[in-house]
Amino acid sequence: MDELRKSFHHDIEDVRTELVHMAAFVTEAIPRATAVLLNGDLEGADQIINGDDEIDARALELEDQCIQILALQAPVAGDLRQIVAALKMVAEVERSADLVCNICKAARLIYGHSLDPTLRGIITRMGEQAQQLYIAAIESFVENDAAKAAAIDDMDNYLDALQKQFVQAIFESHAAGRIDLQVAVQLAVVARFYERIGDHAVNIGERVRFVVTGWLPEHRGAARFRSRADDSTEMPRPPIPGNSD
């Protein structure tokens, strides 16, 4: 039969396309920020930081587009999940772009300090892994691939492990007198930025799973919470020691 509501479905496609473009912008900015950090490229840092205004503007516009679709088209089922997920995902992408900027701001703070090869090597790997996570998130979204989206969570474990490894390397470098305390603290914060970018990619993957299946991994935790709440109504909790009430 003929497809109906073509213009509405075209609007949803527009939202998806713009979301992919914004996420691609972040994906490309991650290695650029890593290069800024490793090379002390202040000009490159300025470019990325200034570019964030564009991402903020596009995020607002995309959010507005989603709200208009909700208000005017009353989407349901798969269409509804697309729009609700897009509203959530755009926030993840926008925040990831902020974190990329933060890496560049940290690069400015430690400008002029040299980093030893171990630290440089782990920074490179963290940047590459964060980018891989983002690439997987975009691909799973474009292909509506719930299995690929679910794999992002496991990919993120590697980034988490790199972060821990990096913090250990910072301690060692500082103890050996190769970096001072301020640089050590900044580097620890940078590691956190990469790790958070990975978390946002994981969140995008979760939203992709929601779009495809209507299910979110948080449902598991919510079920555990409800089950605990049910248990606690059946059995009174033991009194807290020292609490006279």
Binding site: M1, E3, R5, F8, P75, V76, A77, D79, G214
Partner: protein
């Protein structure tokens, strides 16, 4: 009140524990002459819930609704097979009186159809047929029915004027008042708002929410957003090519129930691809 002329001998088909079940359709099938209008309908209507039937034109949703109070009996050539129970009693059983069925299971139609009588007489019509003659008793029924249909405040000062003088939305609420005046348990509504403007539609939808605490409602609607707004459960029907070559030759299609479930799930994450395609407007 029993719907049977004699004491029904049929035992309940629903488990005794599920006291919230009002009606059950099992493999319900309706033929008009040699054509199968709708087949394989299996669903349960639960008390104090609003169940919505949605689907494209010709999918059999109104046909199924009409089975629920035996309105199809009035259409020559209509034949109902399968099982349709009301509190466990086969509605099409030989001992069941169709008129009694329609007292327990009332109906409101697409086009408001008040009798060419006064507002009062429209509402009192059913109770009078049931033998109520005392004025005070009729007054009380008319008032409570008009209140139940959220119309009392608008018409209490002109009860003796013609029902046809009311606006379309008021006429439809008058028809609802007329339907509930005989104290049915179930109210069937066949596209009750399709002839009404948005304000009158919103009034009827609000009214349905209020009526839910006293009645069980089944509504056929072409407006999917209305189904989403008002109903607890939604049944999606569609039509598919008939199996017999004779029917295919005549381009006849048969209605089928595709999916039945909680409205919230049906409109956020339907199980069947055909439901998804229809409610998102990808086919029509």
């Amino acid at each position: 009140m029993s719907i049977a002329t004699s004491t029904p001998t049929i035992t309940a088909t629903e488990p005794a524990s599920d006291t919230h079940v009002v009606m059950v359709a099992s493999n319900l099938e309706v033929h008009y002459g040699d054509q199968c209008a709708v087949r394989n309908v299996n669903l349960t209507i639960r008390e104090h819930e609003i169940t919505a039937f949605i689907g494209p034109s010709g999918c059999g949703k109104s046909t199924v609704l009409r089975c629920f109070n035996r309105m199809n009996d009035l259409i020559s050539g209509a034949r109902v097979s399968g099982l349709l129970t009301y509190h466990g009693i086969d509605l099409y059983g030989p001992e069941v009186n169709a008129a009694q069925v329609r007292r327990r299971i009332g109906m409101v139609f697409q086009k408001p159809n008040p009798f060419p009588k006064s507002i009062y007489d429209n509402v009192a019509f059913g109770p009078r047929l049931a033998g109520i003659k005392k004025r005070a008793e009729l007054d009380a029924i008319v008032e409570s029915s008009l209140r139940g249909a959220a119309l009392w405040d608008e018409v209490k000062s002109r009860l003796q004027t013609s029902g046809l003088g009311l606006s379309g939305g008021q006429q439809q609420r008058l028809c609802i008042a007329r339907a509930i005046a005989v104290e049915p348990e179930v109210v069937l509504m066949d596209e009750p708002c399709s002839a009404l403007d948005p304000i009158a539609t919103a009034r009827i939808e609000d009214l349905m929410h209020e009526m839910k605490s006293r009645y069980t409602i089944v509504i056929v609607t072409h407006n999917m957003q209305q189904a989403a707004r008002v109903s607890d459960r939604t049944a999606f029907f569609t039509s598919e090519s008939a199996a017999s070559s004779e029917q295919v030759k005549n381009d006849r299609r048969t209605g089928v129930l595709v999916e039945f479930g909680r409205t919230q799930r049906m409109f956020s994450n339907p199980s069947d691809e055909r439901t998804e395609q229809y409610i998102t407007g990808r086919f029509g």
